[in-house]
Structure formats: structure tokens, C-alpha cells
């Protein structure tokens, strides 16, 4: 049924359908809010529909499928090269789903500069999706930067009181990393080109080329900065809490759900396969930083008075798992890292959405100002509970699978590392449950009582936007197989490329 997807440029359609939406938006007068919302929703739904065609990806077939290969700037070996493997497929679908969720959630929430808002959201989609499907380092970089500006505007225009500080910090952090990465990309391409090869930015041609140790180390550091800032890894994470607190809800959903994954994806797609020797060399440092991030994020989360900040810091901890899994270099760790990315995107996206729901009603996010909400908003409490448990990693929900696999992988690397991260599973239960208890079970605070009569449970658009995430969090928890099947081949491929550097072969490890 979805075979016809191989006949059409489906990846271009996924990436550029939102651009058609933007063009349509430009033709609509700014005060026609209804029309604007529908155009944005339809454009994102169309992109989602195209992305679902990618489920037809055949894990047993070629590594990259649905390829598109066009000349762009041949003078510099830059091409419009697109293609996806299983890793890209799951992240592309995560992106389109979360974009639809954010657009739906914003439906009746955004009342100022509506047209610009939805245009920005759609442009953000283009940048993010482009990153996941590029098979050309230059094209990848262009999309990477393209995803930056819309988020900058999203936080800066529709954000909270300290939005300008937060958004400038976000941009400057990201730009420093990405500009250094650009130099590294050029250095890698030039080194490959001067080795008697064609000068090109094509990913597959650069991958596997034996770059010298010195170049690998320098390039790895540059890539690391770009990706680690995005992930974000301790100690480069300080932009994240500010950005999250000031971002509008939909911005937070995308930021936590997808933008952080750009960093994780960068490590898996570029750092490890392109620079395997340096990756192995630096692995102990990265793992140390990852463990610190895991612990630090969890500990700091415990003392956060603000709901959004708490979830932001928990992201630092969860993304630390991703980094840990990526750098222990075994199947379980890598599979866990990928799964954790997907799961974190869903649960944290949903948690930010739910925080947005209460913020809409009370204009406050301080935990101390909440309390007793279970009595007044039972359905809302149930949903919040579901995602709280998913975030803690309760078996049966998606959060469990990723963390479990990562810890399993970490055990093969080093027992102490695994033990330290296991500790965090307890910490996360502490901060999440304690937060849940203070928000939903205790006696309502004086502040909350003022809003009490006007509090209403979740609205229809809120349910609609949350629904896909509810389905996914349960489905992936019970049936992680399909995702793991898709990501198995890419993970094996990474291990294969890195095997000569580690001296291990991926298949010899016990399961």
C-alpha cells in the first residue's frame, strides 16, 4: 500500500510541505485567525502523512532508502542528498507528530501575531526535518542553522517576561557550537578531498575515510561542542532552563521533544561514524560528563520551585542517559540511547504540554502555589500522573525501555557507571513523585483557592493534542519492538564502523 512512496520524492515532500503552508499563510490576511490555524494544521498534517509513509522502510534493504540526489553547488561538491535509515525514520516521525501536537495545542492559546506564529512553527519544522534526512554535511549544516532562527523568534516574541535574555542566550550558545562545527565539516571535507578523492560533502563518501588522528581529535571536539550544547550536556546546559521557562508551551514541547534530539542524532550520525578513533579516545570523558549530567540533572530537579524548570532539569538528566548509551559502544547502550530519545520526546513533550494547561488557567507555574488539584481536575491529574510515571521509567510505559537498555549497556562497560546511573532512577522517582504530590494531593494553597471556581478540566483541543502522545507512550512501553527493529540496523552499522577503533566486534558482546 505504501510502496508508491518509493516512486515520489517523499522526503522532499515531508520537509517542504510546511513551506507550502507558509506560502499559503502569506496570502491570508493577518486577522483571519481561523483560516490561519487551519492552514498551519493542514500543512503539518500533510507533512505527518508523508512521514508515515516512511514506515515502509525495509530494515533488510539498503542502508539509506527513499533517496534523492540532486546537484546543488557542484563547484564545491555540495549536493541535495536526502535519504533515511531506521534512526532517521523514527526521529522524523517523532518530529512531525510533535509538530502537529504543538500546532493543535496552540489552537486557542496564541492570540497575538497569530499568522507570524504559525509561519514560524512551520519553518521550524522544515529545519528540524531537514537535519534528520540530510546525507550531505553541508546541507545538514544549512538545515541545522535553519532550525535555530524560528526557535529564536518563538521564544523571543511569544515567550515570558525574561524572553529576550533567554532567547539571546539560546542563540549565542548554539551559534558558537555550530560555527565551530562548520569549520570542522570543512576540515573533514578538505582532508578527504586532498587525499586524492573528489571534493565532496557527501556523507557516505566521507564516512569510513581514515582521517588522521590529529584531525579527528580537533574535529571531534568541534562536533562535540555543537552537539553537546544542543543535547545539552553538563556543563553546557545552562541555556536550557532559561529557554524552557520563557518559551511558550508549544516552543517548550518542540524544544524538549525535538531540538534536543538534534544533538543526540548528531552524535550518532556524524561524530561516531565519521570520527571513530577520536570517539573511542574521548569516550571516557564523554561518559564521565554524561554520568555527571544524569546525577546533576536529577539532584537539581529536586529543588526546583518552578514546574517548567523542574522538567527542564530532568531533561538534562534524561539526555545524559542518551549520551551514556551512545558512548558505551554496545548494542544495548546504543539502542537504549535511541529509544530514550524517542521516549523522552514523547513524555517530556507531554509534560510541558500539561504544565501549559495549568499555566493557561492560573498564570503560574510555582509548585508552592499549587495543591489539591486532583479534587478539582481529576482527568488532568490522571494524565499528569501517566506521564509522571512514564518519566520515572515505570515498566509498561515508554520511559522504562530506554533507561533499562542504557543501564544494561553501561553494565557491560563498567559496573560502577551502571550503579551510579541506577541510583538516578530512584532520584527521579523522588523528584517527580514529590512534585506530583505537592501539585495534586496536598491541600490547595491560598493562591490556588482564588482560581478554584474558574478552574476547568482539559478542553477538547487539549485532549486532541495530547491524545497521540498518550497512545504512543503506552504503545511504545508495551511494544517497543517495531522501533527497536527499525533502529537495529543503524546501530549495528555504527558499531561496525567503530569496531576497528575499539578492538571489539559488535557481535561478540553477550546480549
Amino acid at each position: 500500500m505504501i510502496e508508491f512512496a518509493r516512486e515520489i520524492p517523499v522526503l522532499s515532500l515531508v520537509v517542504f510541505t510546511p513551506v507550502i503552508g507558509v506560502a499559503a499563510l502569506l496570502l491570508v490576511p493577518g486577522d483571519r485567525h481561523r483560516a490561519i490555524r487551519w492552514i498551519a494544521l493542514l500543512a503539518s498534517l500533510a507533512s505527518l502523512a508523508f512521514s508515515l509513509l516512511l514506515i515502509g522502510y525495509e530494515p533488510g534493504g539498503a542502508e539509506f532508502q527513499y533517496r534523492e540526489d540532486l546537484q546543488w553547488i557542484p563547484a564545491f561538491g555540495m549536493g541535495y542528498r536526502l535519504g533515511v535509515d531506521g534512526l532517521s525514520v523514527v526521529l522524523v516521525i517523532l518530529t512531525t507528530v510533535l509538530s502537529v501536537v504543538s500546532i493543535l495545542y496552540s489552537w486557542d492559546k496564541i492570540k497575538t501575531r497569530v499568522k507570524e506564529y504559525y509561519a514560524t512553527m512551520l519553518l521550524l519544522m522544515v529545519g528540524m526535518l531537514g537535519v534528520f534526512v540530510s546525507l550531505d554535511l553541508f546541507l545538514f549544516y544549512v538545515f541545522w542553522e535553519l532550525s535555530l532562527i524560528p526557535m529564536y523568534l518563538l521564544i523571543g516574541i511569544w515567550g515570558g517576561p525574561r524572553r529576550i535574555y533567554a532567547t539571546v542566550k539560546f542563540v549565542i550558545y548554539t551559534l558558537v557550537g555550530s560555527l565551530l562545527m562548520l569549520v570542522a565539516i570543512l576540515a573533514v571535507a578538505i582532508a578527504h578531498g586532498s587525499g586524492g578523492n573528489e571534493f565532496t560533502f557527501a556523507y557516505e563518501q566521507l564516512r569510513g575515510y581514515p582521517f588522521t588522528d590529529g584531525l579527528q581529535a580537533l574535529a571531534f571536539v568541534a562536533f562535540f561542542l555543537a552537539f553537546a550544547i544542543k543535547v545539552p550536556m553538563w556543563p553546557l546546559h545552562t541555556w536550557l532552563p532559561d529557554a524552557h521557562v520563557e518559551a511558550p508551551t508549544a516552543g517548550s514541547i518542540i524544544l524538549a521533544g525535538v531540538l534536543l534530539k538534534l544533538g543526540g542524532y548528531g552524535f550518532l550520525r556524524f561524530s561516531l561514524p565519521l570520527l571513530p578513533d577520536a570517539a573511542v579516545e574521548f569516550a571516557p570523558i564523554v561518559i564521565t560528563l554524561a554520568v555527571i549530567a544524569v546525577l546533576y540533572g536529577a539532584l537539581v530537579s529536586m529543588v526546583q520551585p518552578d514546574l517548567k524548570k523542574l522538567i527542564a532539569y530532568s531533561s538534562v538528566s534524561h539526555m545524559g542517559f542518551v549520551m551514556l548509551g551512545a558512548f558505551v559502544f554496545n548494542v544495548q547502550g546504543l539502542q537504549g540511547a535511541v529509544f530514550q530519545m524517542i521516549s523522552h520526546g514523547i513524555t517530556t513533550g507531554a509534560l510541558f504540554l500539561l504544565v501549559g494547561v495549568i499555566y493557561e488557567r492560573t498564570h503560574d507555574r510555582l509548585i508552592a502555589h499549587m495543591g489539591g488539584l486532583n479534587a478539582r481536575l481529576p482527568r488532568y491529574a490522571a494524565m499528569f500522573g501517566l506521564f509522571t510515571f512514564a518519566s520515572i521509567g515505570l515498566p509498561g510505559l515508554s520511559g522504562f525501555v530506554g533507561e533499562f537498555l542504557v543501564v544494561l549497556g553501561a553494565f557491560q562497560y563498567n559496573g560502577w557507571v551502571a550503579a551510579a546511573t541506577m541510583l538516578v532512577v530512584i532520584f527521579s522517582a523522588v523528584y517527580m513523585l514529590w512534585m506530583f504530590q505537592r501539585v495534586f494531593f496536598t491541600v490547595p494553597s491560598g493562591w490556588m483557592r482564588r482560581w478554584w471556581p474558574s478552574l476547568s478540566d482539559m478542553s477538547r483541543t487539549e485532549w486532541l493534542s495530547l491524545a497521540p502522545l498518550i497512545v504512543l507512550v503506552v504503545l511504545l512501553g508495551v511494544l517497543p519492538g517495531p522501533v527497536l527493529n527499525l533502529t537495529e540496523a543503524p546501530v549495528d552499522r555504527i558499531l561496525e564502523l567503530i569496531a576497528p577503533s575499539t578492538g571489539l566486534t559488535s557481535l561478540s558482546l553477550p546480549w
Partner: protein, 489 residues
């Protein structure tokens, strides 16, 4: 080669340009005040005809007038870029000048003469011609800076520019005479080999190279020879500032390419480090000072210093390159940057000028506050220009930086590339501040009125379209560049 008629044909662009200037002066005398606007279309027409002239001589690669003058694709490329800059300036200036009762005819004529100077500079194959072209370029520029006769700042800027500029010309001239004394020739192409015979790094050679470097980088506004820039730029009428920040700079880089890449190419080991250091110093100081400015005009003035630094990095890459292919790539990077930067910077200054319709407005950041809701199209245009100046894809500014980075890394100057990248991130801070004001702050009580003159609007639309298109599809320009830079090798 020595057929005088053929020599004249190769001068077709210059002849057209000078004729236009003369026609403008004469027409200005005979038309009433109410019809002065027609001088702009005349200027535009003349520039377009000159452009056609450039196309006619594109294939020419010849030394004419006994070797004093060279017409090759490199010079023709510089001329083309000059015309783009001249065209935009001529379109942006009228409404600003007319609203301040400044004479349009004189402005156009002076502008055209300055452009002629840039033409001569780009085509000089002899130190004498080079100096002649340089002076023909900067003399009108001094006049333009002080063009607002009744404005103190304009006077001050003009005088400063004139005094320091003459000083720098004197140093350059001194360097030229020193070079002549050492080599016995003023032919640019013969200097390098002649100096080579003297043996490198003798103190006399270094003095000559040093003098030439100081004189040339002064014109390009490189740190530490940049002190005239902010005052001259701030004082000049805004659209003219746009021209000053790119026109004489383009000329200065034409001079640098001719003198250093062509003339002193064999000595590049001697000037590599100086050029690289100047690049680093220029971009860093330019950016750091730009960071602290609250006046957009002054901020853009300092940022134009930073851009000089990036272009110098391209020149340093030329000096460090080990193979002709990489040398050529570095020259291409310089050319591309000069052109791309020219378009985006001139347009950015023009936007500042459009917000100064009320002559009391001085171009502070506050006049940009809330612009996105008052004038969405203008704000969007300015946002694109700011992103391009920062170097965010898909704009021409990004591609220009990429080119410089590519050349630097290719030439083995990885550290310089890293510094360029870090500087670009630093620059993002103040460029994005303009976007913050336009999009994220509420407007003032009494917002600056927006100038919507049709010429200016058309030119702005044209430049923004160019900035985007060249950023996404640079291929056509790259082909031209390749031919131009190849003329040197």
C-alpha cells in the same frame, strides 16, 4: 595589442561612466528644481549601459596604454561589483537627500567619479595608475562624507576622513617610491621578481612592504588604522555611509589584490603573518566595539570593520596557500565576500536611512522598536539583512563566510578559521539585537516615520532578493569568479 582603437574599446566601461557623470553635471545646470529627480534615472541608465560595456569586454584579457592599464576578467569583475554598489547607492540616496534639501545632481556626479576611480584602481597594472585610481576614488568620497554642509557631524566626519586619508595616501606613496627605488620599476607584475632578486627580508624590502601595507589597509579600514571610520560613517548622510562602507572598501581590496596577490605574490611569506594578525585584530576589535554601540549606524560602522577582518583572512589564506588552486580559491573568497558584503551592508544602511525621514532621528536602536508591527515588510527585509551579515544560511553572507573559512582551512590556517567562526558568533549578538528590537519589543510612543520612496523600496527589494538567491544558488556567480580569479594565475 597596441592598436589605439582597440585600447579605446577596452575602456568602454570607463568611457561610459565618465560620460554619464558629465551628462549629469550638464543636465543639472539646465533643468528646474522640480525636475531634478530625473537625474537619478539618468544615472541609473548610465550605470546600466556601463554594465553592458563590462559584459562587452568580459572576454578581454589585455594590457593597454603601454602596460599602464590592464583589462582582464578580474578587473571586470571588480567593475561589475562596483556598478552594483553604485546602482544601489543611486537608488537609495534620493529621498534622504531631497528631504534634507541636499543637491541631487552634485551627489550623482560625485558618486560617478568615485566609481570611475574604483574602475581605474581595479584595472591598474602600474603603481602610478594605482595611485591615480585610488585618489580619484577617495577624493569624491571625502566630499560625499561632508555632503551635508550644514550638519556639524557631517563636516567633522568629512574633515577627519580627509586628513587621515591624505596621511595614509602619503604613506602609500612613500611605500611606492621606496619600492621604485629598490626595484627600478613601477610595473606591478615586475615588482615581485625584482624584489626577489634582492633577496627576501632585507630591512629595506620590509620597509617598502610595510609602508604599502599600512597605506592599503588604512583605506580598507583595518585595525589599528580604523580610527577615521566611525566618525566618518556616522557623520555622513546615511545612504552615503552605506556607499562609504562598501565602495572605497571594495576599491581598497582591489588594490590589495593587485598589489599583494599580483605584485608581492612571491614575497607572500613576508607578509603572511602581518596580514593574518591584521585580520584577527580587525575582526575582533570591530566586533567588540560594535557590541557596545546603541546607535545602529555606528554599530554598522564598526561591524564593517569586522567584515574587513574576514576579508583580510581570505587574503592571508592566499599568502599561506601552497598550491595555485588554493591561492585561486582564496582570491575567489575575497571577491565573493566583497560583492556579497557590498550588497547586504549598503541595504542595511539604507534601512537605517529610511527610518530617518524625520531629520531629527539619529538612527538609534529605539527607532527600530516594534518595527515589525508598524512596517512588517521593512522589518522582514532588515531581519534578512541582519541574518545575512551574521552569516546564517541560506543567505549570501553565510556563503561568503563559508568561502573564507574554506579557503583558510584549505590553506592550513585552521586557527584563523576558528577565530573567524568565533567572531561570527560574537557578531550575532549585536546583529540579532536589531531583530530583538524590531520583533520582540513594543514601539515607542512616537515612532519614527518610515520612508517609502519607490526608488529606495525597489532597491531594497532587489538587494534582499539578491541576498537570498545568491545564498541558495551561488553557482552562477561562482563561475564568473572562477574566470576572474584565474586571470591572476
Amino acid at each position: 595589442m597596441n592598436d589605439p582603437l582597440n585600447d579605446l574599446f577596452t575602456l568602454l566601461p570607463e568611457l561610459l561612466l565618465v560620460s554619464t557623470a558629465l551628462i549629469v553635471i550638464v543636465t543639472d545646470l539646465f533643468i528646474p528644481r522640480s525636475a531634478k529627480w530625473v537625474l537619478t534615472p539618468i544615472t541609473i541608465l548610465g550605470l546600466l549601459l556601463t554594465g553592458i560595456g563590462c559584459v562587452q569586454v568580459w572576454a578581454v584579457d589585455d594590457h593597454v596604454f603601454g602596460g599602464f592599464y590592464v583589462v582582464d576578467p578580474l578587473s571586470t569583475f571588480f567593475k561589475g561589483a562596483t556598478l552594483v554598489i553604485g546602482l544601489l547607492t543611486a537608488l537609495f540616496a534620493p529621498s534622504y537627500l531631497v528631504s534634507r534639501r541636499l543637491p541631487l545632481g552634485e551627489f550623482n556626479a560625485i558618486l560617478l567619479f568615485s566609481l570611475t576611480g574604483m574602475f581605474v584602481l581595479a584595472s591598474s597594472s602600474d603603481l602610478i595608475t594605482l595611485f591615480l585610481g585610488l585618489e580619484l576614488m577617495v577624493m569624491p568620497a571625502y566630499l560625499l562624507t561632508g555632503f551635508h554642509k550644514t550638519d556639524r557631524y557631517s563636516n567633522e566626519g568629512g574633515l577627519k576622513y580627509f586628513l587621515l586619508g591624505s596621511f595614509a595616501s602619503a604613506i602609500l606613496l612613500f611605500g611606492i617610491s621606496w619600492t621604485y627605488g629598490l626595484t627600478g620599476t613601477t610595473r606591478i607584475a615586475e615588482i615581485g621578481p625584482a624584489l626577489g632578486e634582492l633577496g627576501t627580508a632585507g630591512p629595506a624590502v620590509l620597509v617598502a612592504i610595510g609602508m604599502l601595507t599600512v597605506g592599503a589597509t588604512f583605506k580598507a579600514a583595518a585595525v589599528p588604522f580604523h580610527y577615521w571610520t566611525p566618525d566618518a560613517y556616522q557623520g555622513a548622510p546615511t545612504p552615503i555611509t552605506g556607499f562609504l562602507s562598501v565602495g572605497p572598501k571594495l576599491g581598497a581590496f582591489a588594490l590589495l589584490v593587485r598589489l599583494f596577490a599580483e605584485g608581492l605574490g612571491p614575497q607572500r611569506g613576508d607578509w603572511l603573518i602581518v596580514m593574518a594578525m591584521l585580520a584577527v585584530l580587525t575582526m575582533t576589535v570591530g566586533n567588540l566595539v560594535a557590541l557596545t554601540q546603541s546607535n545602529v549606524k555606528r554599530m554598522l560602522a564598526y561591524s564593517s570593520i569586522a567584515h574587513t577582518g574576514y576579508i583580510l583572512a581570505g587574503l592571508a589564506a592566499f599568502a599561506a596557500a601552497t598550491t595555485p588552486a588554493i591561492q585561486q580559491e582564496a582570491i575567489e573568497a575575497v571577491l565573493f565576500y566583497v560583492l556579497g558584503y557590498g550588497v547586504m551592508n549598503i541595504a542595511a544602511f539604507a534601512v537605517v536611512g529610511m527610518l530617518q525621514r524625520d531629520p531629527q532621528r539619529y538612527g538609534g536602536l529605539a527607532s527600530f522598536a516594534g518595527l515589525a508591527s508598524r512596517a512588517p515588510a521593512l522589518a522582514a527585509a532588515m531581519a534578512v539583512l541582519m541574518l545575512s551579515l551574521t552569516g546564517i544560511p541560506p543567505t549570501v553572507g553565510f556563503f561568503a563566510k563559508l568561502y573564507v573559512l574554506l579557503a583558510s582551512v584549505d590553506a592550513g590556517l585552521g586557527w584563523l578559521a576558528v577565530l573567524v567562526a568565533l567572531n561570527a558568533a560574537l557578531a550575532a549578538f549585536y546583529y540579532l539585537r536589531v531583530i530583538v528590537y524590531m520583533y520582540m519589543r513594543d514601539g515607542e510612543e512616537d515612532p519614527a516615520p518610515v520612508d517609502r520612496h519607490p526608488f529606495g523600496t525597489a532597491a531594497l527589494a532587489l538587494s534582499v532578493a539578491g541576498v537570498m538567491l545568491l545564498g541558495i544558488f551561488p553557482e552562477p556567480i561562482l563561475t564568473l569568479l572562477r574566470d576572474s580569479a584565474a586571470a591572476l594565475f
